[in-house]
Assembly symmetry: C2
DNA sequence: TCCAAAATGTAGCATATGCTACGTTTCTAT
DNA sequence: ATAGAAACGTAGCATATGCTACATTTTGGA
């Protein structure tokens, strides 16, 4: 009795991990549907049929929750990317066209909204979005680098960053 | 003494109107620079070297303040549009290309950010952004309608809305 | 000069929100 | 069956934020 929960560190058992993962997915769903990252924990919990108390039971704090949800979204995006990926290294202009075309897909509309929201908040220094934005940008650049047929690594990185900036 | 301000209706004198307009412009500047519409009144006031008390002295409430600032931004955009406007009515595809090219101008980047923010918040039902978003969309459609060389008015409106949706 | 209106400061209220303390119930392993 | 862990509820705190009440200072016209 009185396990003194204290609501600190989230549970670490495998069962809990699974529930946490399921929750993360549903949170990601809400983010895609409602396009918001600044939603109050109480509202978010209500949509999920639970309580803010439970969200903070499975996640350390709101920042970690958002990070997990965004990571889940990034994972989904990667999966779509896998299937529609043009394989092999190509010249910069080609990579840029392909990427722009991919991001223009109607299915990705909600992703774009969330991505834009994160970048906006991150650019404004809001925690935890600054860190998330950096990570997302880093990942995007890495993905672009892999597709470029440039010999010099530094050059690859420069061009990848340029492509990303142009597309944004 | 004790003018019983009560902080309700903003002042209506011509001097006050001028000061209010100047304030509105500076608020619009902050929005362009920081790209935010959800900034707390205290923070916004601090950036302007005044107090939240003063903002609510010149504006009825935060909603009106935001509306005024967005209106100011829309006015600036219109001015840019005037100078770079392609005159006369053109076929839909042409209008769409022109509009897309115009919106892609690098100078308009901050405007796009604010516009996107407003649409996102409006789509989510947040006040006062829902109303502002509707007004902005209405204005954009009207502007597009004027440039279309279609005879039927209903058809013009339909096509204008379609162009806007495609560009968004 | 004098006074009313405009402008501004200070303090605080009501609500929202992230988070915590503390309790009870439910499950699970022995 | 029972003890301990896990899961969950309830209440509340601390802070942030929009906004108001009240007081004071500043200003412009008579």
């Amino acid at each position: 009795m009185t396990s003194s929960d204290s609501s600190h560190r989230p549970p670490s058992g495998p069962k809990s991990q699974a529930k946490r993962a399921a929750l993360t997915g549903r949170i990601a769903d809400v983010m895609l549907a409602e396009g918001l990252a600044g939603i109050p924990l109480r509202d978010l919990a209500a949509r999920l049929g639970t309580s803010d108390r439970m969200l903070l039971y499975y996640f350390e704090d709101k920042a970690e929750l958002v990070q997990a949800a965004v990571a889940a979204l990034a994972g989904r995006l990667d999966k779509v990317l896998e299937t529609s990926r043009v394989s092999g290294r190509r010249p910069p202009a080609q990579v840029m066209r392909d990427t722009a075309a991919f991001l223009a897909l109607p299915d990705l509309r909600p992703f774009r909204a969330v991505w834009a929201d994160i970048l906006a908040r991150g650019g404004r220094g809001e925690t935890p979005f600054a860190a998330i934005a950096r990570a997302q940008i880093e990942g995007a650049i890495a993905s672009l680098e892999e597709q470029l047929d440039l010999a010099d690594a530094a050059e690859r990185r420069r061009v990848a960053a340029a492509i990303l900036a142009a597309i944004e």
